[in-house]
C-alpha cells in the first residue's frame, strides 16, 4: 500500500466515522396502554347501629368478590356472580361483623363500579367506592364545630405498608399535630383518624393526604347528630362538574389543595342556560370557600374552574339530614351509579356540551327497564327512578350523572362513576 493510498484510506475512514450517525440506542418495547382498574376500595362500617351494603354495577356479566381487610389480614371475603342484569348488592353483615374496616371489591371488568351505602338508625350515606388511588388526594367540607364528628378513614388493601402525611388546614391555619405526620397504614389494614378528637371546634377543615409510600384510599365521614354523610378524598383538579338536584338546601364547597393562591370561578347552569363566572374568588393553600346553594338561585348544576388544583363538593343539608359528594372532573359517555337504593331515587344528568345528548337510562335489576331521554345542550334533567341495585347511564355525548335519594329520615347523594371517557 503506497503512502498516499494509506493516508487516503485512513482519511476516508475517519471522515466516514465523523459523518455517519452513531447507532441508535436500543429501547425496550413500548409500554402497554393502561388497563382500567378492576377493583374498588370502599369504607365499611358494621356494628354500632350501622350496617353497610355494597352495591356493584357492571356493564358485563362476571364474577366479583369482596374482601374485608383489617389489621394486616383478611377478615372475611365473598365471591358473587353478577347476573345478566349486571348488578348485585352484598350486605356486609352476611360476610363478617367487623367494625370499621376497608373493603376491597374485585370487579369483573374495568367497566364496573361499586358504592358503599352505610345505613344507620336514621342516617344513610352513599358514596361511590374509590377506583383510582393517586399519591395525593384532597377533601374539603369537613367540620368539627359543635357536635359535629369527623373521621378520616385511610384504607390500604395492598401488599405493602403505606405511609401518609396529612396536611390539615382550618380557620386556625395549618394544623400542627404529630398525629398528622407519618401516619402508617398497615398493609391490608385501615387507620381511622378521628379529627374531632384531635382538632375539635373547627368550623371548616380541609385535608390533603400526601402518600409517601404505598397507596391509600381516603374517605371521610361527617356526623351531625343522627345524620351522617360520607365522601371520598379525591385527586385535585382544575375543573369540576356538579349536577344539583332540585329543591335542596346546602352549600357548594371549594377547597384549594396547592400551595399559593388559586383563583376560581363558578359557572352556573340554570334554566336560562349557562351563566359564566357567576361567582369568582381566590383561595390560599388549604383554604375552602363555602357557597350556600341558596345564593345560586336557579342553579341546576355548576362548573368550577380554577387556576390550580381544587376540589369541589356539594353538601346537602336541611338541618336534620346531611349528605355530601364530590364532583366529577369531566363528562363521560357512560356512568354507573351503584345505589343499593331501598326506595325511589332521583337521577340528575348534566349535559355540559354544546349539543343535545341522547341518554339511555337502565335500571340494573331483575326486569329492570330502560328509557330514553334527551338532555339539551348545556342543561340538566332530573328524573325519578324506582329502587334498583344500580343504574347505567349511556349518552352519545359526554354528560355527568349524579344520584340523589331522599329517604324518610335521611337523604344521600353520590356522583356516579364514569366508565368511559366519552
Amino acid at each position: 500500500m503506497s503512502r498516499l493510498l494509506s493516508l487516503a484510506t485512513l482519511a476516508v475512514l475517519a471522515v466516514a466515522l465523523f459523518v455517519l450517525p452513531p447507532p441508535g440506542q436500543p429501547a425496550p418495547d413500548a409500554a402497554p396502554a393502561p388497563n382500567p382498574t378492576v377493583f374498588a376500595v370502599c369504607p365499611v362500617i358494621e356494628g354500632g347501629g350501622r350496617s353497610t351494603d355494597l352495591a356493584i354495577g357492571s356493564t358485563l356479566e362476571g364474577p366479583a368478590a369482596l374482601t374485608l381487610f383489617a389489621n394486616g389480614s383478611t377478615v372475611g371475603s365473598i365471591e358473587v356472580g353478577l347476573g345478566s342484569n349486571g348488578a348485585t348488592i352484598i350486605p356486609v353483615v352476611d360476610v363478617a361483623a367487623v367494625g370499621t374496616v376497608g373493603g376491597l371489591v374485585e370487579l369483573p371488568t374495568g367497566a364496573a363500579a361499586a358504592a358503599s351505602r352505610i345505613q344507620g338508625a336514621i342516617s344513610s350515606t352513599l358514596e361511590t367506592c374509590v377506583r383510582s388511588i393517586p399519591a395525593q388526594v384532597f377533601l374539603a367540607g369537613g367540620s368539627t364545630a359543635g357536635q359535629r364528628e369527623m373521621s378520616l378513614q385511610l384504607m390500604n388493601p395492598f401488599a405493602g405498608d403505606a405511609v401518609a402525611n396529612l396536611v390539615v388546614h382550618s380557620e386556625a391555619g395549618l394544623e400542627s399535630n404529630n398525629r398528622f405526620t407519618r401516619v402508617i397504614v398497615p398493609s391490608r389494614g385501615s387507620t381511622v383518624v378521628q379529627m374531632d378528637e384531635i382538632i375539635p371546634g373547627r368550623e371548616w377543615i380541609t385535608v390533603r393526604v400526601d402518600v409517601s409510600r404505598g397507596r391509600v384510599a381516603a374517605a371521610v365521614r361527617q356526623g351531625l347528630g343522627e345524620a351522617a354523610a360520607s365522601w371520598n378524598a379525591v385527586e385535585p383538579a382544575g375543573s369540576w362538574f356538579l349536577p344539583l338536584p332540585t329543591e335542596i338546601d346546602g352549600r357548594l364547597v371549594i377547597g384549594s389543595a396547592a400551595p399559593g393562591e388559586v383563583e376560581y370561578q363558578v359557572d352556573v347552569y340554570g334554566a336560562a342556560g349557562v351563566e359564566g363566572a357567576a361567582i369568582s374568588g381566590a383561595l390560599s393553600e388549604g383554604a375552602e370557600e363555602s357557597l350556600p346553594l341558596a345564593d345560586l338561585e336557579g342553579a341546576r348544576a355548576v362548573r368550577v374552574v380554577a387556576t390550580g388544583p381544587v376540589v369541589a363538593s356539594v353538601e346537602v343539608s336541611n338541618g336534620t339530614t346531611l349528605s355530601t359528594t364530590t364532583g366529577a372532573t369531566a363528562g363521560a359517555g357512560s356512568w354507573l351509579l351503584p345505589a343499593a337504593s331501598p326506595g325511589p331515587v332521583r337521577l340528575v344528568v348534566l349535559n355540559p356540551e354544546l349539543e343535545d345528548a341522547q341518554v339511555v337510562v337502565r335500571a340494573l335489576r331483575e326486569n329492570g327497564g330502560e328509557f330514553n331521554v334527551t338532555v339539551p345542550a348545556e342543561s340538566v334533567i332530573e328524573v325519578g327512578l324506582d329502587a334498583s341495585d344500580a343504574f347505567l347511564v349511556d349518552s352519545d355525548v359526554p354528560v355527568v350523572a349524579l344520584l340523589y335519594e331522599v329517604g324518610e329520615t335521611a337523604d344521600s347523594i353520590a356522583i356516579g362513576a364514569p366508565i368511559d371517557d366519552g
Binding site: S6, T9, F18, P22, Q25, P28, P32, T37
Partner: protein, 886 residues
C-alpha cells in the same frame, strides 16, 4: 583395580590406558562383568565377587568404568590424596571425553533426596577452578578409590543400581560407616559417559530413592519419604505445565520399582545397620537445602516466563545489558501497569457483575457444555456459550476452586495480552518498547474498554488470545511443518470459545501484513484458523440472533477522540520507514474500518463484540509501531505523541483496578433471595430496568423496560447469555405485559408458575411500579441495595411436586422420590427424563426416580465435541511437527 564393564566401551583401549598408569607397584587388574577371558586378566561376574576376592594385602581398590580414560597419574593422585586426607573413598575429577576439558563431575553435593547438585554450568571448561581436595556427598563410580577393608565391609556397589545412583549409594554407605568421601581433582579421568546414558531415566531416579531408603535412619525416613512423594507430585505437575509428561511417568515407575524391591531394600538396611557408626547428620552436612529438582523446575519455569518477554533471550542468557535490550523495559513497564490495574481484584476480589460472573463447578460447567441443560432464564436445550467450556476446564485445573480459577484467568488475561502483542510485534519486525506497551491498548483500548465497561469478561479472554492467533498465522519464512498448523488451531479454538466471530481477523491480517512471498502460506494458516469456530458451532446454530439481531447490541459508538488519535497516529507513522508504516497503517485501517462497520450497523452482539476487539487490536498495532523507536525526529515525535495519548487513554479505562470491569457484587446484591429462602428453593429473581446496563448479562425487551430472570441461588457465568425465547419466555412476556398495563390485583400469582420469587426494579422509576402499587401479593420489601424489591407472596418452586420440592443437582434436579409428577418450571423439551410431559410451556417428569435429568440429542453432544476434538487435533499436529523436527 576393578575395571567395570560398560556396554559399548572399548575394553582393550581401557586396558591400554590403565596400563600406562605411573603408579608403582602396578595394580592387579580384575575385569568385572561380562567379558571374554583374556590372558593375564582375571574376569569376575560381579562387583561383590571381585571385592570379596581381593587379597588382604591390598590397601585400596580402584573402581574404574571401562568407558573411562584416566590420565597416567590419575591413580597415583588418588592414592596420594586419599592417604593424605585419611579418607575412605576418593573420586576422580571427570572430564568429558572428546571435549576441550569440559567438566563432568568434581564430586557432588546432593539434596536430601539424593538428587545430585554439582554446581557446574553446562559445558563449563576445567580451568582448575575446582582443584581443591574437599569432602563431598558423593563421587561418581566411574573412577573411585576405596579402602579395600571398607569395600569388603560394604560388599561393593549395589548391582541393582545404575552408575550414578550406585556411586551415590556407595558414598553414602561409606560415610555412615565412618569413612570420609573426598573429591580428588588432581586425578583426572576422561569419561565417555556411556554409562550415563539414561541418567535422567527412571532407573536412576529409582536408584536414588533406593539409596535414600537404605541409608537414612527410620526417624529421617518418617519425614523424608512423604516429602519426597510431594516433591515427585509437584515435579510431575510442573513438568506437565512445561509440556513434559515423562517426569511423571519416571516418578511413578521409580516408586513402583522400589515397592517391588522393598524386601531387598529392607535386607540392605539390615546390613547397613551393622556397619553404621555415624548418624544421618553426617549425610546432611553435604546436602543442599530443599529440593534440587524443584529448584531446577522453578528456574526453568521462570526462565520460560521471562523468555516470553525476551525474544532476544538477553535475560535467559544472563547478559548484563538487560536494560538495553529492546522491548524489555517496555514489557516490564506494561507488566507493572497491568499489576497496578489489577489492584482491586487482588485486594478485594473479582467483581460479580454484568458478564463477569462466578464459574460453575467444573463438573456442572463441562456437563452443561457436553449436552447439559442450558439453565439461563427459563432454560433451553440450546448450547451454552462456548467460553463455558473454558471456565469448566479452568475450574478443573484448579481442582474445583472456581473463584481461584476466575481470578487467575482474569489476572493472566491482561498479561497474556501484553505478551501476545509483544510477540506479535516481534513477529512483525518491531523490537522497541511499544510492542509490549501496546498490549495495554489491546486490553483496554477503544473497543475492549467498551465491552469490559459493560461487564464483558469474555472480551478480556478474546483480546488476550487474538494477537497469539495472529502471530501463529503470520509464520516466518523459515517456519513450516504440521506444528505451525497445530499451533494455529490450538490457539484459534480458545479464541473462538471466547469470541467466535473474531477468528476471521487473523486471516484479514495475513492478507494485509504479509509480503507477497509469504502471503499464500499465511493465508492458508489464516483459513486454518477459521476451524477454531468449530467450538462455537453449537452456540451459533442455537443462538442465531446473537449474530444477526441488531437490537440486542449494546449500541457501542466510536469515541471521536479515539478516531482522531488512531487516524492521526497511523497517518504520522505512515511517513516513517516501511517496517513501521505498514504495521501502523494496517492497524489504523483495521480499527477505523471495524468502527465503520459497527456504526452501519451490521449484525448482532457477536459481531459487535468482534468489531470492538478488532478496533482495539488495530489501535494497539498503531501504538506498537509508533513507540517502537524513540528518537527526536519531528514525524516520529508526532507518531509517538499519538501512541502515548492512546496509551494514556487506555490506562484511564484500566485505572479502575478491575481491568475495566465495573464494580459490584450481584451475589451480594441479590443475596436476599437465597438468605430468606431458608431451606426452601430460592427460586428465581425477575430483574427489570429501563437502563439495560443495570441488568446482568443479556436481557430481553419487555413492555417499557428490559428484563431478565436470574437464579436466586446466585447467577453463574453460563447464565450471561439468554437462549432464544421459547414458549415459556413468550408466556412470561405476555404476563409482564398484563402486569405492566396495571389493574392486576395478583401479579405475584401470575409470576409464580415461572418460579419467580422476587421482582427487583433497578434504576429509574418505571411505569411498571405504578402498576404494582395497587396489588395484593407482591410485597414491597425495603433492602438497602437501592433497588426496589418485591417479594412474591405466591411462590412456587422451580421443581415442585405434590408435596415435595426438588433442588438443583448438576444440570438437572433431584429430591425426594414421589409417586406423582414433578413440575419443572423450565421450557418444555422432550429431552427431560424420566417420562416428560408438557404442562403448558413447562415440563413435568415422573417423580419416582427422585431426579430429573436432561438428555441431549446425540447430534448436540457430537457438535459439542467438535471444538475439543479440533483442539486435540491441533495438539497432535504440534506433536507430529516436533517429531518431524527431531
Amino acid at each position: 583395580m576393578l575395571l567395570t564393564m560398560i556396554e559399548g566401551a572399548d575394553l582393550d583401549a581401557a586396558l591400554a590406558v590403565v596400563r600406562r598408569q605411573v603408579y608403582e607397584p602396578a595394580p592387579d587388574l580384575v575385569v568385572v562383568g561380562d567379558s571374554e577371558d583374556r590372558e593375564g586378566l582375571r574376569v569376575v561376574p560381579d562387583m561383590e565377587t571381585a571385592i570379596a576376592g581381593a587379597d588382604q594385602s591390598i590397601d585400596y581398590l580402584w573402581i574404574l568404568h571401562s568407558d573411562a580414560r584416566p590420565r597416567p597419574d590419575a591413580l597415583r593422585a588418588l592414592v596420594t590424596e586419599v592417604e593424605r586426607n585419611e579418607a575412605a573413598l576418593g573420586g576422580s575429577k571427570l572430564l568429558m571425553a572428546g571435549t576441550p576439558d569440559v567438566l563432568e563431575s568434581v564430586g557432588s553435593a546432593t539434596d536430601v533426596f539424593g538428587e545430585p547438585y554439582s554446581g557446574l554450568e553446562e559445558g563449563e571448561i576445567d580451568l582448575q577452578q575446582y582443584d581443591v581436595v574437599r569432602e563431598v556427598a558423593f563421587v561418581r563410580s566411574a573412577s573411585m578409590l576405596v579402602r579395600r577393608d571398607l569395600a569388603q565391609g560394604l560388599r561393593g556397589l549395589d548391582e541393582l543400581l545404575p552408575p550414578i545412583a550406585a556411586g551415590l549409594d556407595f558414598s553414602q554407605r561409606s560415610r555412615i560407616a565412618g569413612g570420609k568421601v573426598i573429591s580428588v581433582p588432581s586425578s583426572e579421568v576422561y569419561h565417555q559417559g556411556r554409562c550415563d546414558e539414561g541418567a535422567e531415566g527412571w532407573r536412576e531416579r529409582a536408584g536414588r530413592l533406593r539409596a535414600m531408603l537404605t541409608a537414612y535412619t527410620p526417624l529421617t525416613l518418617l519425614w523424608v519419604v512423604p516429602y519426597d512423594f510431594i516433591v515427585s507430585v509437584l515435579d510431575s505437575i510442573g513438568s506437565l505445565f512445561l509440556g513434559r509428561w515423562r517426569p511423571a511417568a519416571r516418578h511413578a515407575a521409580a516408586w513402583a520399582w522400589n515397592l517391588a524391591r522393598l524386601p531387598s531394600t529392607i535386607r540392605l538396611r539390615g546390613r547397613n545397620r551393622r556397619i553404621r557408626v555415624a548418624g544421618d547428620e553426617e549425610l546432611f552436612r553435604f546436602q543442599a537445602r530443599g529440593s534440587v529438582r524443584l529448584r531446577e523446575l522453578g528456574g526453568e519455569i521462570s526462565s520460560r516466563i521471562l523468555g516470553l518477554f525476551d525474544d532476544d533471550q538477553i535475560l535467559s542468557r544472563g547478559a548484563k545489558r538487560v536494560w538495553s535490550a529492546p522491548g524489555i523495559w517496555g514489557a516490564i513497564v506494561a507488566g507493572a501497569l497491568a499489576l497496578i490495574a489489577a489492584r482491586s481484584i487482588l485486594f478485594t476480589g473479582m467483581p460479580i457483575v454484568g458478564g463477569a460472573l462466578p464459574f460453575e463447578p467444573p463438573g456442572v460447567a463441562l456437563g452443561r457444555w457436553f449436552g447439559g441443560w442450558n439453565d439461563s432464564g427459563l432454560g433451553s436445550p440450546a448450547a451454552v456459550h462456548p467460553s463455558t467450556l473454558i471456565t469448566g476446564l479452568m475450574s478443573l485445573i484448579t481442582f474445583g476452586a472456581t473463584d481461584v480459577a476466575r481470578t487467575l484467568a482474569t489476572l493472566l488475561s491482561v498479561l497474556v495480552g501484553i505478551v501476545g502483542m509483544g510477540r506479535l510485534g516481534g513477529r512483525l519486525g518491531l523490537r522497541g518498547p511499544g510492542r509490549y506497551l501496546s498490549g495495554l491498548v489491546l486490553m483496554a483500548g477503544p473497543g475492549t474498554a467498551i465491552l469490559t465497561g459493560d461487564g464483558s469478561w469474555t472480551a478480556l479472554g478474546a483480546a488476550a488470545l487474538l494477537p497469539w492467533v495472529v502471530r501463529a498465522v503470520l509464520v516466518p519464512e523459515n517456519w513450516s511443518g504440521l506444528g505451525t498448523f497445530g499451533w494455529v488451531i490450538v490457539l484459534a479454538v480458545p479464541l473462538a470459545a471466547f469470541s467466535p466471530l473474531l477468528v476471521p481477523v487473523p486471516l484479514i491480517l495475513a492478507l494485509l501484513l504479509s509480503p507477497s512471498g509469504l502471503r499464500t502460506r499465511r493465508l492458508i494458516r489464516g483459513l486454518v484458523a477459521l476451524a477454531g469456530v468449530l467450538v462455537a458451532v453449537p452456540f451459533l446454530t442455537a443462538h442465531p440472533t446473537w449474530v444477526t439481531d441488531v437490537d440486542q447490541r449494546i449500541a457501542a459508538a466510536p469515541d471521536p477522540i479515539w478516531v482522531g488519535l488512531i487516524a492521526g497516529g497511523a497517518a504520522a507513522t505512515a511517513f516513517l520507514a516501511d517496517r513501521w508504516r505498514k504495521v501502523a497503517v494496517v492497524g489504523g485501517v483495521l480499527a477505523l474500518a471495524g468502527w465503520v462497520v459497527l456504526v452501519l450497523p451490521i449484525g448482532g452482539p457477536g459481531v459487535e463484540e468482534a468489531l470492538l476487539i478488532t478496533a482495539s487490536l488495530g489501535a494497539a498495532l498503531v501504538v506498537s509501531a509508533g513507540l517502537d523507536l524513540l528518537a527526536l525526529e519531528p514525524v516520529r515525535l508526532i507518531a509517538m505523541a499519538g501512541a502515548v495519548a492512546m496509551l494514556v487513554v487506555s490506562l484511564g479505562s484500566l485505572g479502575n483496578g478491575r481491568y475495566g470491569l465495573p464494580s459490584g457484587d450481584l451475589t451480594e446484591r441479590y443475596g436476599f433471595g437465597l438468605a430468606l429462602a431458608g431451606a426452601a428453593d430460592p427460586g428465581r429473581i425477575l430483574v427489570v430496568s429501563e437502563d439495560r446496563a443495570l441488568l446482568p448479562g443479556e436481557v430481553r425487551s419487555g413492555p417499557g423496560f428490559w428484563y431478565r430472570l436470574i437464579d436466586a441461588a446466585g447467577m453463574t457465568y453460563d447464565e450471561t447469555w439468554l437462549p432464544e425465547p421459547r414458549e415459556g419466555d413468550v408466556a412470561l412476556r405476555e404476563v409482564l405485559t398484563q402486569i405492566a398495563a396495571g389493574g392486576e390485583l395478583r401479579p405475584g400469582e401470575m409470576l409464580a408458575p415461572f418460579a419467580i420469587d422476587w421482582l427487583v426494579v433497578e434504576g429509574p422509576e418505571l411505569g411498571l411500579e405504578a402498576a404494582l402499587i395497587g396489588q395484593l401479593d407482591l410485597l414491597p420489601t425495603p433492602f438497602d441495595t437501592g433497588a426496589r424489591v418485591y417479594e412474591n407472596l405466591s411462590v412456587e418452586g422451580v421443581a415442585r411436586g405434590e408435596s415435595v420440592t426438588w433442588d438443583r443437582s448438576g444440570t438437572g434436579y433431584a429430591g425426594e422420590e414421589v409417586a406423582g409428577r414433578v413440575r419443572l418450571a423450565v421450557n418444555y423439551d422432550d429431552g427431560w427424563q424420566p417420562d416428560p410431559l408438557a404442562d403448558a410451556w413447562a415440563v413435568t417428569v415422573d417423580g419416582r426416580d427422585g431426579e430429573a435429568v436432561y438428555v441431549a440429542p446425540a447430534m448436540d453432544r457430537a457438535m459439542a465435541a467438535l471444538g475439543p476434538v479440533a483442539f486435540l487435533g491441533g495438539l497432535v499436529l504440534i506433536g507430529l511437527g516436533r517429531r518431524g523436527k527431531r
